[in-house]
C-alpha cells in the first residue's frame, strides 16, 4: 500500500478498482485543492470512492491527485478565518517519509514533493457543501479499517487466556508464577529470565575451567 498523496494520470473520470469492489460514493465539482504549503490548484472535481479520494483538475482533465482513506489520519471542517482564510475540509495525511527511502524520492521529483505532503485542504466553491463532505469522509473512513488489525492483535501485549497457559508451561521451573500477577506478565520478563539463566551457565563453566587450571597447577608443583 502506498501511503500519502500520489499523482495520478487519467482521462476524465478516474478508473475504479472494481475487482476490489471500489465504488463511487460522491462526485463533487467545484473543489479547489491545497497540498501542504503548495499554492492552491483550481478548479477541479472531487471523486470520493469507497477506498480513496481523487481530485481531477478541470483545466488539465488528465491529471490530478489521489489519496487512500487509509492514509487520512484526521479530517475536520475548518471555518475559522484565522486557521485558514476560506472555509475548507482540512485533512492530515499519514506519509512514510520519516521511515524509509529518500533515495527513491530523489530520483523522482514529483514523488518527492508529494511524499512530504502531510496536509490537504479541500475548498468547495459553495461552503455549505462542507458538512456533507465531512459526513462522507467519516462514512468512508469507517469502510477502511487497518488491514492488519487482526495480525497486530496477535502480536500485541494483550494475551488471551490460552496463550498464558502455554507460556506458563514453557517457563515452568525457571520462574515461579504468581497467578495474581499473570495479567501484567509479558515477553520481556521471559527474556530476562533466559538471560539470567544463560549467565549462570556461563559462570559455572568459567568456574569449572578455573578449577581445572588450579588442579593442573597443583599437580605440576
Amino acid at each position: 500500500m502506498v501511503l500519502g498523496v500520489r499523482e495520478i494520470r487519467c482521462s476524465g473520470q478516474p478508473v475504479l478498482d472494481s475487482e476490489n469492489r471500489e465504488e463511487l460514493m460522491q462526485v463533487q465539482p467545484g473543489i479547489d485543492i491545497v497540498l501542504g504549503n503548495l499554492p492552491p490548484e483550481s478548479p477541479g472535481t472531487l471523486y470520493i470512492t469507497t477506498k480513496q479520494v481523487i481530485w481531477v483538475s478541470d483545466v488539465d482533465k488528465t491529471g490530478g491527485y489521489a489519496v487512500d482513506f487509509l492514509s487520512i489520519s484526521l479530517h475536520a471542517v475548518s471555518r475559522d478565518p484565522e486557521a485558514y482564510p476560506v472555509p475548507c475540509l482540512y485533512t492530515q495525511i499519514d506519509t512514510e517519509v520519516a521511515d524509509d527511502d529518500h533515495s527513491d524520492s530523489e530520483s523522482n521529483h514529483i514523488q518527492q514533493d508529494l511524499s512530504n505532503v502531510t496536509e490537504m485542504r479541500l475548498i468547495p466553491s459553495d461552503p455549505s457543501q462542507l458538512d456533507t463532505l465531512f459526513a462522507i469522509f467519516c462514512q468512508c473512513a469507517e469502510l477502511n479499517p487497518e488491514p492488519n488489525d487482526e495480525e497486530g492483535e496477535e502480536n500485541d501485549w494483550v494475551f488471551s487466556a490460552d496463550q498464558m497457559v502455554d507460556e506458563e508451561a514453557e517457563d515452568e521451573g525457571y520462574i515461579s508464577h504468581n497467578p495474581a500477577n499473570s495479567i501484567g506478565h509479558s515477553n520481556g520478563n521471559n527474556d530476562l529470565a533466559r538471560t539470567i539463566l544463560e549467565l549462570q551457565i556461563n559462570d559455572r563453566r568459567f568456574e569449572d575451567a578455573e578449577e581445572m587450571e588450579d588442579n593442573e597447577d597443583g599437580t605440576r608443583h
Partner: protein, 93 residues
C-alpha cells in the same frame, strides 16, 4: 470490544486525544465506532503555538489507528467497573 463500550459511555464528555504524530486535540466526544475512530466536537489544539492552523475546527474525525492516548475526565472513570471489565476480558469471558 472493552474499550469500544467504555468509550461509548464517555460520549458527551471532554476528552483529550493524543495522536501518534504528537498532536493533541481536546474536545467533546461526539461518537466512537468499533475501530475506535473518534469524532470530537468544539475542538481545540492543546499546543496551539505548534499547530496554529488547527486553532479551532468545529468538528473533527480522528482515525482510530493514529490515536496514541485518550485522556479521560477523572469523574468519567469508574475504576471498579473497569477493574471488573478487564478481569472478565482477561479470563476470555
Amino acid at each position: 470490544m472493552l474499550f469500544f463500550s467504555y468509550f461509548k459511555d464517555l460520549v458527551g464528555r471532554e476528552v483529550t486525544v493524543e495522536l501518534k504524530n504528537d498532536l493533541a486535540i481536546r474536545g467533546t466526544l461526539h461518537s466512537v465506532d468499533q475501530y475506535l475512530n473518534i469524532k470530537l466536537e468544539n475542538t481545540r489544539v492543546v499546543d496551539q503555538d505548534k499547530y496554529p492552523h488547527m486553532l479551532s475546527v468545529r468538528n473533527c474525525f480522528i482515525r482510530g489507528s493514529v490515536v496514541r492516548y485518550v485522556q479521560l475526565p477523572p469523574e468519567g472513570v469508574d475504576i471498579e467497573l473497569l477493574h471488573d471489565a478487564t478481569r472478565r476480558e482477561a479470563r476470555g469471558g
